[in-house]
Subunit: 252 residues, 2 copies
Amino acid sequence: MKRERLEEVAEILDKRGKMTLEQLEEAFPDVSQMTLRRDLSQLEEDGRIIRIRGGAMSVKEVQKVSGEAYTKKTTINMDAKIVIAQKAATLIDEGTSIFIDGGTTAMYLSKEMPDIKCNIFTNGIAVAMELAQKKNVEITVVGGQLMKDNLSTSSPAAKEYFDNTNFEIAIVSALAFTPEHGFSCNSQTESDLLKQVFKKARHVYMMLDSSKIGKINPYTFAHLEDIDVLITDDVFPREYKALFEQNDIVVM
Amino acid sequence: MKRERLEEVAEILDKRGKMTLEQLEEAFPDVSQMTLRRDLSQLEEDGRIIRIRGGAMSVKEVQKVSGEAYTKKTTINMDAKIVIAQKAATLIDEGTSIFIDGGTTAMYLSKEMPDIKCNIFTNGIAVAMELAQKKNVEITVVGGQLMKDNLSTSSPAAKEYFDNTNFEIAIVSALAFTPEHGFSCNSQTESDLLKQVFKKARHVYMMLDSSKIGKINPYTFAHLEDIDVLITDDVFPREYKALFEQNDIVVM
DNA sequence: ATCTCCTTTGTTTAAAATTAACATTTGCAG
DNA sequence: CTGCAAATGTTAATTTTAAACAAAGGAGAT
């Protein structure tokens, strides 16, 4: 009972890097806060985690935080993104061929993903590194120039790149969405890449947390008719939900 | 005033590993607790320390504390590799176009590299992530299937990939070398990739620590005549050094 | 110099998190 | 079943933190 929970706590912390006590309580609804505190104490003694004010973080995360110039971006609407990523993770079936983009939501998705046999294509190198830990996942990285802000690559040669490639699903996210401008991002070449991906993908899943709504970015890469499923959080406005459903999009 | 104090706080924390706020107050008697708190906040944002309840600790300390629990790999001949990487780093000039492979030595190289304006092409995603921290370095990642053991990509499409690309220098390392079999690695596609790179590179630098000598791996990608400079450690056997020099290779 | 604006620092106070202490439950050997 | 010990829950006290505001410097402009 205790032993297992300790393992689970350590695992989830390894996955998410950093969690508040509140988040831990949500993850373990049937034990008290005090118990979780005691668990953290013990894990700390074992050197598996570091306890920080408000919660705890994994050792890996410490190294990451100190290693990179810590981008604040990772924490904007993080909870919503994790929920969305978890949902998306359940949609991945064994043996499928999938494209995943290089955004932060995709990063969470790759952490939450089950370790099943499948082929993943991605343009995010952080995503690729994360997935490399999964034994059964075949990974292919899309080459190209690296954008340092989001660690994703894109290349004008994307077209040829995907000539002989097909995806069952493409799971992507956008930086912005409005009904008029569709889904947009901030890089021309990334936009081109995604358009190319959509052509070769049987289904397109869009992960969109509600903070993106009403915003506009310079490059539109998809409109409502291009996507099949929308995965979002629970504060997603009702009128938008209706709008998506009118366009035959499944909203989760 | 503030700047210096921040430095001092970071230093003393690095030294002592872990301090409570009380201890910090003793160390800095002429500022208020709140100021120290604010300093810690800032250092935390910069990724230099980790704030814990009651005080703070240095990143080093975290690693030490957790060191026992976490297995450290990539230590095979690490010292030699670092020395080689440092040497190689000095050979990179501003404004050049360079290919770097995805091996562990290349990883150290990317850490040691100066942050100068240049174009780096690599097939190592760990290398790419490391380089992403350098503001002035333009990075292009070679796409392809990801090999999980060394986090490098390679693709049969390498040929087309490099059609319009040229390198001033290619800095690569091999997994094995013998005079008869040349430089070899353990992946067919990576071998192809490197051969392609050599065609487009003006100079080829080989980083080879002495542990690689006398070993054979399945795929030879270069012979003595293909390389221009050899960067190695100081226990490199004399007879091999002579051999290289006979082939007009500069040995460092 | 004097003034203004902005940053830094200090102080007080409210909020939050943590621990301690004690009560309750659970599992299990005898 | 009984009693003990480990695990967990609950509450209250303690400690730590952050927020808000006030004061003190510091740099540049006039």
